[in-house]
């Protein structure tokens, strides 16, 4: 991207093309300016107050940045600056500070920032809490002996507070219950709504007859606790959803298009149409499917196929969106854009695979299925029993209402969201993003783990295999040849040669032959480093990642490479095996490299050269054999398998299709959190079950009292709040201890330390 002088921008008339078609050009520019002046970065690694200042200072030091603000809760930074500010500069600046950063789509992020539904729920929660407190004060005086006119007055005031509050705060339940009833179904919200309405109605009736018992406080408390559960649930989901949407935008939605005049312009991907010529620079990712019309290069298609060996790209060749251009610039004529491109072609496969998972029933669903009809039947029976027994409609209705209130799934409504919130929060601090509400339950049930290789177990950066065995002279020569290249294999050679001494004749006339390798001359002899077939060596397709060096007519030397393991890969595999899980590796790569990685991390069951269909089939087969599979993968070739698996995890570097298909996204680099994630998931599921049991125990104690007509509003209030609080406290045990404030000397919050020392 060219750095333009900002002064020429406001006019928007600086380039000749603008003169030709001013309005369209201006519009495009305007859009580009509005988009580029606001950049959002995802910062998965930040934890401390010190990180906030480091990031904000580091970003502010970058030229063109006007304002940088870190949000520690969401682990992201918003940067506003001049229109020509490029995210890469910021990411580079942060990487220099040792902070991992990814770009996010500011437009999507801005959409999710104003979380309307969450705010609305919080407002209802506030109203319910306020009303509940006031009514509770009045109720306490009634319970402690206020009688006659005072009691009636207090009941009337309670009614006056309760009616508007309940009408406003309870709306989510009424709407959901109505929607369920209209479809002829019962959900958790039907008994809730019924209990609230019945409680308010009978209480009003009792108040009018100056009766002793009114359940206004119970109705409000019920609403309050249930809204609290609903809000927690919403917040967990909203955080995961917004972060996932922003991650989806990690595929930076821009393309460099050739204009009619031969110039270049950066346009949003949505503006690219079929037939456009797109410039893809070395290191850039193909934004569209297309045919190479000019240039020669090599392509890294590991995200799509799992192959680590770069493929050659020459004019006339098909390329797919998602492939990375390595050595030379390419001009690609777009043949399919957006949803038509190969990136989206596997959607059908994914849809089929997903149907297998759709019939998963969460623990909460199962509980609701048992619970909702049971409550109604119990309440109806006690009404019928008392009506037949006493013939008194008022007593019968009162008792039916008491039964409904006491059994109301107050604690049940909190049981799942409280645990999920606590567990997701704990895992988020570890760098894991839980996207799906039931992912934790499913994760706890797994017995088999299937890993993808390229980009998942490995970081996708090759290293020289058996570097010690290579003669110094040869290695230094190869490194000198590869010095100027951006090709990953050349970089690996340079890295391997660092610190090695050796005699190396000067290489003259060094030039990169895009798509093939590097060529130079020593004396009169041609030296080539590059693809085996180009150098003149016999190509061995099973050899995996390799490059050849040949001096003149001497025998070529082949360098072999392995993909470097992601940090924590071996620890993750070992940890999962220690938990008694079966770990497998399925890759689309050549057998040699798959075997090498499998040996390194300690996986005995592996399969190479697997197509996307093979991967999905392997998962389905395991599922049909009664196994619960966790799939960990990042490529498009893993997408179907990710969707078919019982639960799936993908790293943040994965293609968006893969991330969409998976339930959990790994935000950091380190894989070693996987065993802990499973441990937390198991603990969370245990707590959810415990919570159900606790709620049931309270019901078993309180329901007979209610049915027997002994339940007073005081007992109802006690049972309800006691069970809700027990359940919430139990859930908090999952959250674990917060990370120690001063985790390490360099991570510690300096000012916090100073504060404590000053005391």
């Amino acid at each position: 991207m060219t750095i333009r002088d900002p002064s020429e921008l406001p006019g928007g008339m600086a380039c000749p093309a603008c003169m030709v078609s001013p309005s369209a050009e201006l519009l495009a520019r305007h859009a580009a300016r509005a988009r580029e002046s606001r950049i959002m970065l995802s910062l998965p690694g930040i934890r401390e107050a010190g990180d906030i200042s480091r990031v904000e200072r580091g970003l502010a030091a970058v030229a063109g940045v006007q304002q940088a603000r870190v949000n520690l809760t969401q682990k992201r930074a918003t940067v506003t600056g001049l229109p020509d500010l490029v995210p890469d500069t910021l990411i580079h600046a942060l990487t220099g500070l040792g902070i991992e950063a990814h770009e996010m789509d500011a437009e999507v992020a801005a959409l999710t920032r104003t979380d309307r539904a969450g705010r609305e729920l919080l407002m209802r929660l506030g109203v319910a809490g306020f009303a509940a407190m006031n009514v509770m004060l009045l109720s306490i005086s009634v319970w402690s002996g206020a009688d006659d006119a005072t009691r009636d007055l207090f009941h009337w005031i309670s009614a006056a507070i309760t009616f508007p509050a309940i009408a406003f705060a309870g709306q989510p339940f009424y709407r959901s219950a109505w929607a369920a009833l209209r479809r002829g179904r019962l959900n958790m919200d039907v008994p809730i709504t019924l209990a609230i309405l019945l409680a308010v109605a009978t209480s009003l009736w009792e108040t009018m007859l100056s009766g002793h018992h009114a359940y206004f406080d119970a109705a409000l408390m019920l609403t309050f606790f249930l809204l609290a559960g609903r809000y927690l649930d919403h917040r967990t989901r909203a955080i995961a959803r917004s972060a996932a949407e922003e991650l989806a935008a990690l595929e930076v939605p821009r393309a460099i298009r050739r204009t009619a005049t031969g110039g270049e312009e950066t346009v949003p991907l949505s503006a690219v149409s079929v037939g456009d010529e797109i410039v893809v620079r070395p290191g850039g990712r193909m934004p569209v499917d297309g045919v190479v019309s000019e240039g020669a290069s090599e392509l890294d298609r590991s995200l799509l196929t799992g192959e680590t060996l770069p493929a050659q790209a020459l004019p006339g060749m098909q390329v797919s969106a998602g492939e990375v251009n390595l050595t030379g610039p390419l001009i690609v004529r777009a043949t399919a854009v957006g949803p038509d491109s190969a990136l989206h072609a596997l959607t059908d496969l994914v849809a089929i695979a997903e149907s297998g998972r759709a019939n998963y029933h969460s623990l909460a669903d199962k509980a609701a299925k048992l619970y909702a009809p049971g409550v109604h039947i119990l309440s109806a029976l006690s009404f019928a029993g008392w009506y037949i027994g006493t013939g008194d409609l008022r007593t019968a209705v009162n008792i039916a209402a008491a039964v409904l209130i006491i059994t109301c799934p107050c604690a049940l409504g909190l049981a799942v969201p409280a645990v999920t919130t606590a567990a997701s929060g704990r895992l988020f601090r570890k760098g894991l993003l839980i996207k799906s509400g039931t992912a934790l339950e499913r994760l706890s049930a797994i017995d088999t783990v299937i890993f993808d290789k390229t980009g998942t177990l490995t970081s996708g950066t090759p290293t020289l295999r058996g570097a010690e065995g290579v003669p110094d002279d040869l290695l230094v020569l190869a490194a000198a040849m590869g010095q100027g290249s951006a090709h990953p294999l050349a970089r690996a050679l340079v890295a391997a040669a660092a610190g090695r001494g050796g005699d190396c004749p000067a290489v003259e006339g060094l030039r990169e032959v895009p798509g093939y390798g590097v060529e130079g001359r020593i004396g009169g002899e041609i030296v080539r480093l590059g693809r085996p077939d180009w150098v003149g060596a016999a190509a061995d397709s099973d050899a995996g990642l390799s490059t050849c060096l040949r001096v003149g007519q001497n025998a070529p030397h082949t360098f072999e490479f392995t993909d470097r393991l992601r940090p924590g890969a071996a620890a993750a595999v070992a940890g999962l095996r220690a938990q008694g899980l079966e770990v497998r590796l399925i890759s689309g790569d050549a057998p040699a490299s798959v075997a090498a990685v499998a040996a390194q991390v300690g996986i005995t069951q592996w399969q190479a050269r697997a197509t996307p269909q093979d991967k999905a089939a392997a998962v389905t087969e395991a599922r049909d054999a009664g196994r619960m599979v966790l799939m960990v993968g990042d490529g498009l070739n893993d997408t179907a398998a990710l969707a078919a698996a019982h639960v799936s995890i993908s790293p943040a570097s994965a293609l968006d299709a893969a991330r969409v298909a998976s339930d959990v996204v790994l935000l950091g680099q380190d894989l070693s959190v996987l065993p802990e994630a499973r441990a937390v998931a198991q603990q969370a599921t245990r707590r959810i079950r415990e919570n159900f049991r606790i709620a049931t125990v309270y019901n078993i104690v309180a329901v007979p009292l209610a049915v027997a007509g002994l339940a007073t509003p005081l007992i109802a209030a006690l049972a309800m709040s006691a069970s809700s609080i027990t359940v919430s406290l139990n859930a908090l045990r999952v959250a674990g201890r917060k990370a120690p404030r001063r985790a390490g000397p360099e991570r510690g919050a300096p000012s916090a330390a100073i504060l404590s020392e000053a005391r």
């Binding site: 870190v70 520690l72 809760t73 920032r113 506030g126 109203v127």
Partner: protein
């Protein structure tokens, strides 16, 4: 019991003030970054650019 005539409206009124204050915190985005806010208060940095209510219209930087 005549005192109730004042006490009840006063207590509900005070509660209402609290409720309004809560609405205000909601509307001014004070729950966007609870973690960050709790730590920023401990840093010694002087903030040139405290968070704007509307992130779309940031205030200009102080030193420019």
């Amino acid at each position: 019991m005549d005192v109730l005539r004042f006490l009840i409206p006063v207590s509900i009124g005070l509660g209402g003030v609290g409720l309004l204050a809560f609405f205000w915190t909601l509307r001014s985005n004070q729950y966007d970054d609870p973690d960050g806010d709790s730590r920023r208060i401990l840093t010694d940095d002087y903030e040139d650019t405290p968070k704007a209510d509307q992130a779309d219209t940031p205030p200009p930087r102080g030193d420019e």
